[in-house]
């Protein structure tokens, strides 16, 4: 095992760490926005609103992420950038970001829906009986309580997303996997690059799980004890 190749190619790994982190954080935030919107749409009583949301969720949960990444990078986004706008092919990093965000949005939507539905009906009724509108009741009463219950599944989703982001290496985004593969290919050293990437992924997921744990603790104050 030759660990010197890691030092030699450290720039590749640093860049990989950077791309993996940025891609994941970006997809988490965009996914949260998409997920909240879809989750609320999914709960609507109007067919025109909840059917599209359900369709979206079913499609993104029912097909492989790898396929979504390839489809978005090779078919969907080029159709927009090249055919529609007359620009270059999309950046791999942009495609990766879009695919991960859209995919995460579908899973997060279901987490939001479950969280919102887990709040007792009496809470909405109490809020509405005080004259609050539907959106006021959501904002002040339902979502703050639901958010606390959603934190553990959201934490799981974020960790899964971090690991799934490795799939974007197939469209040549310079993420951690890409760094490991490239180093291995060039140096013929098979052990060190993959172990390094694995350790770095583990450190990232561990840090992420600590952040989620800290949030959980912070939001479960004296109330409900």
């Amino acid at each position: 095992m030759d660990w010197s190749v890691i030092v030699e190619y450290k720039d590749l790994f640093i860049r990989g760490l950077f791309y993996t982190t940025v891609l994941t954080i970006g997809a988490v935030f965009t996914g949260l926005v998409i997920g909240l919107s879809l989750g609320l749409m999914r709960l609507s009583k109007k067919r025109l609103i909840y059917v599209p949301a359900k369709l979206y969720i079913d499609v993104f949960r029912g097909t492989p992420l790898l396929l979504q990444i390839l489809f978005i990078h090779l078919a969907l986004l080029p159709a927009v950038t090249k055919d529609l706008l007359g620009l270059n092919s999309p950046d791999a990093i942009l495609s990766g970001f879009v695919a991960l965000s859209l995919n995460a949005g579908a899973y997060i939507a279901e987490i939001f829906r479950g969280g919102i539905q887990s709040i007792e009906k009496g809470q909405t009724e109490a809020a509405r009986s005080l004259g609050m509108s539907h959106s006021q009741a959501m904002r002040h009463i339902i979502l703050p309580q639901a958010f606390k219950r959603m934190l553990p599944p959201l934490g799981n989703e974020f960790i899964a997303l971090l690991k799934d982001s490795s799939l974007v290496s197939v469209i040549a985004v310079n993420d951690l996997i890409y760094a490991a593969q490239t180093t291995a290919k060039v140096t013929w050293e098979r052990w060190a690059p993959y172990i390094t990437a694995g350790v770095l992924y583990f450190i990232l997921t561990y840090l992420l799980s600590r952040v989620v744990f800290w949030l959980e603790k912070r939001y479960s104050t004296e109330e409900e004890r």
């Binding site: 009986s129 005080l130 004259g131 006021q136 309580q145 109330e223």
Partner: protein
Amino acid sequence: MTPMIQIEGLRKRFGQSEVLKGIDLHIREKEVISIIGPSGSGKSTLLRCMNLLEEVSEGKVIVDGNDLTDSRTDINHVRTEMGMVFQQFNLFPHKRVLDNITLAPIEVRKWEREAAEKKAYLLLDKVGLREKADSWPSQLSGGQMQRVAIARALAMDPKVMLFDEPTSALDPEMIGEVLAVMKELANEGMTMVVVTHEMGFAREVCDRVLFMDEGRIEEEGAPNELFSHPKRERTRSFLGKVL
């Protein structure tokens, strides 16, 4: 004088089953009414139709001149004038007692926080819980929670208070403290509709008692009359079981 609440030919269906089978009811300002009857008789549903927590299938519900069944009526506005107290209290567990009370005045009535809190403290005095202002709901007993819920509803200065079995989820020793607050409210001239199993309260405090059975108002009258000389057989048999 037009009634505070006017209900005409009200029907409510849940799928196939009809829970309210044509209710006509006028409630005057300052009147205190209790609705009694066996479980499943539709009394809670009737109460919940009064502020449209249940959609009305047929008929009219008019509150203080606002026709709730008219889709142009701003239901949120009408609800600000009607306080509701629930069997399960439904306090907001993520907010302290004081914030439970001030939330709606601040968000809906757009009051300044300071004014809302001043009012909240007055109401907490009224229900005897000023020292609990900074507590979380989970730190209160059932009776205390229900008194906070009453204060929360009163913070909006409602014209009517609806009570949906307010003491049914309470331990026996806590029922008295909640009924005392309700009695005081009645004496101050609040218009009140109370779905209850507390026959003592109905008898002592209410102006009128409605006995409901199978989705209809079977009998109504002044408490003394209804409790002492029920006219209908069903009323007699119900009272025989609960008194």
